[in-house]
């Protein structure tokens, strides 16, 4: 156990001290913030103003929409970057050095997974604090204790999903070159697949279906619900229900898959099932690789 903890500590230090690595893991998130500042926010506010009058709550609601998307992306990009250590160790033969000690390959592998999870949690939590500061400073309100716990719980779930999802992907990256290609690919695709760069409703229907079938986008969905619930109620007071539903579908706050609205529990089941399946596949791949 002490060996395992020591490995995790080592992985964590190696990651945190690589400042460029940390920066790159946050790059796609920075891009979102820039896009948002430049036009995404204004586009959304303009669209909603046509349904109801502009209020300070409206800005807060749109900001919360952004924050939910950001947090779900951070979980993925930081955990993926943390796996960079595993790839580097493999390529540089540093793993061989660990293997001359009385620890198993499985212990080493699991230390990478656990480290990715911890790194994801730390960065998500820091990001959450940053997001709250942003929301409050732009005139919004702090999350209530209940909502905060709810959001933290969802963050854990998204980091867990991201850790397993990326573990699976990283099995296919054996060199640092292929890993950086993978990172770029994931960082770019993620913004679209979570409906953050472009709202889901603005996409053609096949792309909408793709997003709804993409398990990680369900963490975005759940986070949006958690953040926006009370401000949606305020902003759309007196607006016809059908219009509110249209808004929610347009911006990926609810998913309408084949004519029926997915419930929160369906999303959670999709996430948990994905974690389970990818974990099993990863174990199979790991065993195959180390025969």
């Amino acid at each position: 156990m002490e060996a395992f903890i020591s490995l995790v500590q080592r992985n964590s230090k190696v990651f945190r001290r690589d400042k460029t690595q940390v920066f790159y893991s946050l790059l796609s998130v920075i891009i979102v913030i820039v896009l948002y500042a430049v036009f995404l926010q204004k586009m959304q506010v303009d669209a909603i103003e046509q349904m109801t009058k502009a209020t300070p709550e409206l800005i807060t609601m749109v900001n919360e929409w952004l924050v939910a998307g950001l947090l779900s992306m951070i979980a993925v990009t930081t955990t993926l970057a943390a796996y960079g250590i595993a790839v580097k160790d493999l390529e540089s033969k540093a793993q061989a050095d660990f293997l001359t000690a009385p620890i198993s390959r499985a212990t080493i592998q699991f230390s990478y997974v656990f480290n990715a999870f911890i790194i994801g949690c730390i960065f998500s939590f820091i990001a959450l604090v940053g997001c709250e500061i942003f929301i409050v400073s732009t005139g919004g309100e702090l999350l209530s204790i209940g909502d905060f716990v709810h959001v933290v719980g969802l963050l854990f779930l998204s980091v867990l999903l991201a850790s397993v999802f990326n573990l699976f992907l990283v099995f296919f990256a054996t060199t640092q070159n292929s890993f950086s290609t993978l990172s770029t690919l994931v960082g770019t695709a993620l913004g679209f697949l979570c409906g953050v760069y472009v709202p889901i409703g603005a996409l053609p229907s096949f792309a909408q279906n793709l997003i709804m079938y993409f398990p990680i986008s369900h963490t975005t969905l759940l986070l949006r619900n958690a953040f926006m619930e009370s401000s949606i109620a305020k902003v759309f007071e007196g607006v016809p229900v059908s219009q509110v539903e249209d808004y929610k579908e347009m911006y990926g706050i609810v998913y309408d898959l084949h004519g029926s609205i997915l419930s929160t529990s369906t999303s959670i089941i999709i996430i948990l099932a994905t974690i389970l399946i990818l974990a099993i596949l990863s174990i199979i791949l790991f065993k195959k690789k180390n025969k």
Binding site: L7, Q9, R10, V14, R17, K93, A94, A96, F98, P102
Partner: protein
């Protein structure tokens, strides 16, 4: 006589290619053992098998009384060996101390034991001046010191070094080499190293020369020298024509290159004897002692008739 390592009929096959072709040898406890060979001779493959990093194809290996690949024995073997790799494998952004302690903790030592061991390796390899520095900022020689300290942190019975001095400057090479030698003598540890520097092999207790996966020669450096190396003398004559005629007249075999005549001599005294006779013709001369280089070149050229 106790053996630290016993290897019998060890083979390693990569598809069609046999990297190690059924070699057998033993390493006595507390000795310095050198594995010599050109690149691709199978040195690294063998060392990786002994260090439990690579699966052997067949044969038996026993290390410190534990049979390799027998159930649960590899962990015991790993506790009793330390490995210094060809490349530097510690983490660049961690300090030397952090690197060594993090890896030391993977051996299941108690906190007190680890601290004591760290004190030992730190004194031994003079880590005081570099222990707080990031590994990535160290020079080649300092890195090597840290690498060796890491390999010794659990106080292993056998230290494996895979070409530990390759790529180092001569001064650093000497330092590293002395540290290894001193350590071996003072702690009576078994040291198993691969190298392609002949002078390093010359101070080993026992040398094995490997060629294309087979042992082509083995013995003490002295025995190998006696068998494969000879002293020679280079002569430059005032007049090459007269000189070569004199050599021919006396039935002495020679080779000539750029006016320098090389002849084989049995001993330095034999050289003196020849010099006296040929004195009138000689402008300059040099007697060259047989070295491990000769042993190596000779064996490699011969294809090994050990």
């Amino acid at each position: 006589m106790k053996f630290a390592i016993q290897v019998e009929n060890l083979r390693k096959q990569y598809g069609e290619h046999q990297a190690v072709k059924g070699i057998s040898f033993t390493v006595e406890e507390g000795t310095l053992f050198a594995f010599l060979g050109a690149n691709g001779a199978g040195k690294s493959t063998t060392i990786e098998i002994l260090c439990t990093l690579l699966q052997k194809s067949s044969g038996t290996v026993n290390i410190n009384g534990h049979t390799l690949d027998a159930s649960n024995h590899n962990a015991e073997i790993r506790k009793s060996i330390g490995v210094v790799f060809q490349q530097s494998l510690l983490d660049e952004r961690l300090t030397v101390r952090e690197n060594i302690l993090h890896r030391g903790k993977t051996y299941g030592l108690s906190r007190a034991q680890l601290a004591e061991n760290y004190q030992f390796v730190s004194t031994y390899l003079h880590l005081e001046d570099i222990e707080k520095r990031k590994y990535g900022t160290l020079s080649g020689g300092q890195k090597r010191r840290a690498d060796i300290a890491r390999a010794l942190i659990h106080r292993p019975k056998i230290l494996f070094l895979d070409e530990p001095t390759t790529g180092l400057d001569p001064q650093t090479r000497q330092f590293v080499w002395q540290a290894i030698k001193q350590l071996q003598i003072e702690t009576n540890m078994t040291v198993f190293l691969t190298t392609h520097y002949m002078e390093e092999a010359a101070v080993a207790h026992h040398v094995i020369v490997l060629k294309q996966g087979e042992i082509v020669a083995e013995g003490t450096p002295d025995a190998l020298k006696t068998k494969y190396a000879y002293d020679s003398m280079s002569l430059v004559f005032h007049n090459s024509a007269e000189g070569s005629k004199w050599l021919k007249d006396n039935a002495i075999a020679y080779t000539e290159k750029l006016g320098i005549y090389s002849i084989r001599v049995d001993s330095t005294l034999h050289a003196l004897d020849l010099l006296k006779k040929a004195e009138p013709f000689i402008a300059s001369f040099e007697v060259i002692k047989g070295s491990m280089d000769d042993v190596f070149l000779h064996i490699m050229a011969e294809g090994g008739a050990a």
